[in-house]
């Protein structure tokens, strides 16, 4: 057993080293906000889906994402935040969702690309928390990842289908090209001090570069089967999948996992529940 694996668990956030607590809070908030907004984006696509079954599944996936968001926001209570305020009181500029989610999903191509490329990146990051020494997060992740297996199957099957339709292929590949760099970048930088401390403490079990390899090993074969991997710069190098497109880190904020930009105010209003705010209960 490694020294790290044998190390005691952190049962509560106040047991965390000071310089690990803030980056953990940053990571959990980025995950929660991304799940919240992804659920909204999925919900926008569930009407007008290609088939009734596809719409029902999209609706269920939206519910899953909102459930995951709620579960993840709840973790922030232990990290010094008021989860309810985070969910209902913030301006759009304060949301830390994955940047590709700032805009609507463009039709079924966008829905499928987001489910394949963005949702899977979130799952890769959650999976690195599965064996976390921070017990509250470790306890919540397995069920979430079990549900995400269905999201991936759904995305992979629709990617295969769209790739067979000549009039849709180009648009789908364009959506993938739009999302993939953002997803790879969102997984972060190994040299970011906060990220390094989380890995050193066994709170996150894999550094960003390892997450990217595992993420590409998941997404790469689907892109390859769709005949789009090479065009997207995703290649199998020996036994390992890599992406030839280098991430642009200019302006990158490691804590927010963003390089400027913002969620639009209308989407933030929906995320906050502004329409029925009068009915909100303590």
């Amino acid at each position: 057993m490694t020294e790290l694996a044998a190390a005691a668990a952190f049962e509560k956030a106040d047991q965390l080293p000071d310089d690990a607590r803030a980056p953990l809070r940053d990571l959990v908030l980025a995950l929660a906000d991304s799940k919240r907004v992804l659920g909204l984006r999925y919900s926008d696509r569930m009407l007008g889906s290609p088939t009734l079954e596809a719409g029902i599944a999209a609706s269920s996936m939206a519910q899953d994402e909102w459930g995951h968001a709620r579960l993840t926001y709840a973790l922030l209570g232990d990290l010094g935040d008021d989860p309810k305020a985070l969910e209902h009181e913030r301006d759009a500029a304060e949301y830390r969702c994955m940047p590709p989610l700032d805009a609507d999903l463009d039709g079924w191509n966008g829905m499928t690309a987001a489910a394949l490329v963005l949702d899977t990146a979130l799952s890769a990051q959650y999976a690195a928390l599965l064996q976390s020494r921070y017990t509250p997060v470790h306890n919540r992740v397995q069920k979430l990842l079990d549900e995400e297996r269905f999201h991936f199957q759904y995305a992979a099957a629709w990617a295969r289908r769209i790739a067979q339709v000549p009039e849709l292929r180009g648009g789908f590949q364009a959506e993938l090209a739009r999302y993939l760099p953002g997803a790879l970048r969102w997984l972060g930088r190994d040299e970011a001090p906060g990220s390094r401390r989380l890995v050193e403490e066994g709170i996150v079990r894999e550094e960003p570069s390892a997450l990217r390899v595992r993420y590409l090993a998941k997404v790469g074969p689907v892109l390859e089967e769709a005949g789009m991997a090479e065009a997207l710069g995703v290649i199998r190098d020996g036994g390992e999948w890599t992406c030839t497109v280098r991430s642009d880190w200019s302006g990158w904020d490691d804590a927010a996992r963003r390089a400027g930009g913002s969620l639009d105010e209308a989407t933030a209003a929906r995320a906050r529940g502004d329409l029925n705010r009068a009915l909100l209960m303590d």
Partner: protein
């Protein structure tokens, strides 16, 4: 291109026999599994399976609910796909699929 029909079977415990609970239209087995799980989720199933309707051979086709007139124009043709099993079948944590 017509979508095949998949029949959905489920049970709540190992002791129960699998029973027919419905059907879904899906392009392939992978999507049929997702659609079935997401559509028939009102009960706490311990096991759920999907079977291509075309794989069911009724003893008496005249009486069977698993035969449709559409079979004549290949609606029920099985779509073979490598499925997500070929991508490892497990979750992104690297576990093997169940």
């Amino acid at each position: 291109m017509k979508e095949p029909v998949y029949e959905v079977f489920a049970r709540k415990s190992r002791e129960e026999p699998l029973r027919h609970i419905g059907w879904v239209n899906a392009m392939d087995g992978d999507l049929a599994r997702v659609y079935a799980w997401k559509t028939y989720d009102e009960q706490n199933w311990s096991e759920m399976c999907v079977v291509p309707r075309s794989a069911i051979l009724p003893i008496d086709p005249e009486e069977s609910q698993f035969v449709t007139a559409a079979r004549d124009d290949h609606e029920d043709e099985i779509v073979h796909s490598t499925g997500t099993g070929s991508y490892g079948g497990g979750d992104v944590a690297g576990k093997e699929g169940r």
